[in-house]
């Protein structure tokens, strides 16, 4: 295992740029692979650090400056991600004011494939006395204080990007997230393993939601969302309007108002893992997310088939909670508490499916999970998932 430390504020270490490729990574197994880090300049991306990984089959970029979010990925020429109206990103958090626009300032920097939402809170903004609790929390806008790349010279030759992001201050939050984003040469998968650690001498609360966002070519008219559904709840009357075709996507439609569906998913009996997929109309391209339900029991599907230039995108969102305002989630027991020295781990695998057989295989896998139980579909928002009436 070779480790390259790129940022370590506690030891005053920081590397402005870095690049290794191919066998120089330590083994012939890395032929076609590359690992690089550079600093971006100009506009609102000034000073943003970017790490780019290519395993020969799947390439992706990570933004330490934005809480170790994943900016973009690509597989076989297909972009995995979306076209945000924020076209000049990745945006330095110094240029994001989360409190702006009545608490939805987070959107000004939102252009990633994966944006984590948390840790003090996530979900819809709300007012609590004089305090505005902003949309989706702060973690996506906190620069990582430690970043390292680990290259395993032994099979399966894992490439790991490790990052540490602290949301911690006096009288407030006290959670450290240590993420390990990994892949292996030639794989079409990447794994995001996050460990959340209580930094304090008291129990701390936290929320975490993984906002995975996909546009074309995975999203198109006739694309489908496929998952093993235990329960489905439309978030609000707008979601009810689309309930009959909740799993099918329309074309870009300027003026389309977002629809969100809350789910309980089914998992396999052993590891308790579930899988959710977005596949294109033709069934020859897809993306799948796999993760243990015990870590992330809640799932939200966000459908935003707005105009192509307005943000034509869908979010597949495994989470520890639903993205309701935090007090709503707290009252329903869906805010995590980390005891002193406590930890919570969440591990999600993203898989790119680039032909008909790969898509069909996941579809069959989901079918097998679904066979355990018939889906329960609520026709209107329902407690304890969403506010009724």
């Amino acid at each position: 295992m070779r480790t390259f430390v790129l940022t370590d504020v506690s030891h005053d270490a920081w590397v402005e740029s870095f690049a290794i490729e191919g066998e120089a990574l330590g083994s012939p197994a890395f032929r076609g692979c590359s690992v690089a880090k550079r600093r971006l300049h100009g506009g609102r991306r000034e000073g943003v650090d970017l790490i780019e990984i290519d395993n020969g089959a799947l390439a992706f970029s990570i933004i330490p400056t934005r809480g170790m979010n994943i900016w973009k990925a690509s597989c076989g020429g297909d972009r995995i991600g979306w076209d945000s109206p924020t076209a000049d990103g990745p945006v330095n958090p110094a240029y994001v004011n989360l409190l702006d626009l009545g608490g939805i300032g987070w959107l000004a920097g939102f252009d990633e494939l994966l944006a984590r939402c948390g840790l003090m809170s996530n979900g819809a903004p709300h007012r609590d006395g004089d305090t505005i609790v902003p949309l989706h929390g702060r973690i996506a806008n906190i620069p990582a204080s430690y970043v390292a790349i680990h290259i395993d010279d032994k099979p399966p030759h894992e490439i790991v990007v490790e990052g540490r992001v602290d949301e911690s201050f006096l009288f407030g939050a006290g959670v450290r997230m240590t993420t390990r984003i990994s892949t292996v040469p030639g794989s079409k998968r990447l794994t995001v393993r996050d460990e959340f650690e209580n930094l304090k001498d008291q129990p701390v609360e936290m929320q975490i939601l993984y906002h995975w966002n996909f546009g074309p070519p995975y999203l198109e008219e006739g694309s489908r969302f496929v998952a093993p559904v235990k329960t489905l709840i439309p978030r609000d009357p707008r979601a009810v309007e689309g309930l009959a075709a909740y799993d099918v996507y329309g074309p870009p439609e300027p003026g389309f108002a977002e629809q969100a569906y809350f789910f309980e998913l089914l998992a396999d009996g052993d590891a308790g893992k579930t899988v959710a997929m977005l596949r294109n109309q033709g069934g020859d391209k897809g993306v799948a997310l796999r993760y243990p339900l015990a870590q992330l029991p809640c799932f939200t599907l966000w459908k935003n088939t707005a105009g192509a230039r307005d943000g034509y995108v869908t979010g597949l969102e495994p989470a520890a909670n639903y993205p309701n305002p935090r007090p709503f989630e707290k009252a329903r027991g869906r805010v995590l508490t980390l005891p002193v020295n406590g930890r919570h781990v969440a591990e999600t695998v993203l898989e790119a499916l680039d032909d008909r057989s790969a898509v069909a295989k996941v579809e069959a896998e989901i079918g097998r999970l679904q066979a355990h139980a018939a889906p329960v579909v609520h026709l209107s928002p329902r407690e304890p998932f969403a506010a009724e009436g």
Copy 2:
């Protein structure tokens, strides 16, 4: 035409410093001219990019980091601009919190000759539910994502600084401003041509106001504002107090409370252009703004003859609206709507007048425009321009 791209985030291009002068610009016509770009360091200007243009007669600096505002200019040894109590600018937007101070945080960075106000809104801050709509909007605090310099090797040898600033994000704004700030060797004029483009698949609304600010030597006791007035409306009771001498300036006066006057101006019949001027007491120095009324139908005169160290300054402000809170302007039809693929262009020429004959010539020109109609002066705030009573 030679082009030097200094920033282009979409192609990862950024040039830290750059300087060309004289004939090296491509023609003997550029003797005495220079074009340079550098990055500022230290204090609140840390990381601010500055472009400095000298055409041999007129010099000016542009701040890509602050939305392509014009920081300062000078002509014949006279500074064109003002002394802001913000003495350590230009201020990096990372150090400006627009929501601070009840929504007037914009003032913390305000020290420019030209500060654009918009694009989602401009004018007085106001509260809309939980949302504070901040003074003068965000555009002055958004770094440009594209900056280039174009040098024309053919007469009249135009020097153009092009910049692109996007105010665009999911569920929100969707306007790109492409500015071309240009001059020619030996000229005492510079032209600011802004094109505003709808980036979205839906109509978007926008506001734009050009906050041109002048202090000594153009502003002094006895300086006069001269413009072809169709209608004049004092903004509020405070403006009414100064109405009789609205066009004459007093000396620096600590404690002076600002006065603002709204105008409809007159234009010539052909191009529909108007001109407004600030001239000194002696009539041998002045600055004039020329622009088409169809692009910028509203004009505001801001008189702030406060103490010399408090901000002794006057604003000449051509705009698409008056700087009332946005809902007031919206209700009166003064918020622009850009249809899908729509554009709005606004082009203003700043001219430095450095002798008696130049001033007299513009004064005569304004006189000819005024001859078309007698000014209508309202003695109190009046709809639809300003809130009555």
Copy 3:
């Protein structure tokens, strides 16, 4: 006297890194001394400038980017400072939103030995109409626009770090702070001399509080606060709970809620100086603050003996006011007014006491001051110091 200018925005001067040590400082007297400046990178400290001074006995670091606060110090192997839950500091103000968390966003960057609070306001946050007046004001988050190091080649060979921080803008604040933080070779003292200067042509108001913060080894179970008390007032009912042992510290106690005590202190007759001390249980380590009461008539003791990882810390806070919301202080005449061209100076000496005799000497000194009058201890919050009932 040799001067090294490190930052001067008005002359476009900025030095990225700088280091001199020992005799190279200009005299054999500087053997064992060093003076250095560097820029920090990575995480939330990206772009923060740090100045490090070592006089051979006492070492300390100053943060120009954070208003010339003092980050840490050390003497004889003992750290002078505290362990903040903000572990990745010093934090660039670009990543601090003072308005966050209902106005206590300041805490996100709070990890210093000395954090100044002011200048428009300090103390508890409060709402004034649509305006949130944030905790402890803005000065700790304004980068210095001028920084220089002065080395005196004549005895006593003073080493001075000079810095200038402006809190000034149109229609708002108008104060320049010029600080001189100084020490001499071999000394266990450092002096913070701040001059506050009205930059405007009108009177301006200001507040200033010096938030000196200490953790272990000076703070431990059985540590004591020692000062010549004229009057002691518990801030609130929570402080009343601890009144009987207000001057003794407990061990780290997770869940401990902060206690604050307001004081009038006694001074000597001549220079009007007072001294306050924190000493450890054994009486062989301490830190003392000396300053003229006329400059800083109010003193607050902040006891926050929370868990070791929650911020086990005490604040000794000489100030021109008590840290109540600004309107409360204003109504009681404790907001300073600087007349036109007016100045206010505040000079505090921090002394590290590293053996029993040094501690005993200060204890005796305080005893002599206390002999002038018996302390008046109020048993509950009392006007005009704190809100009653």
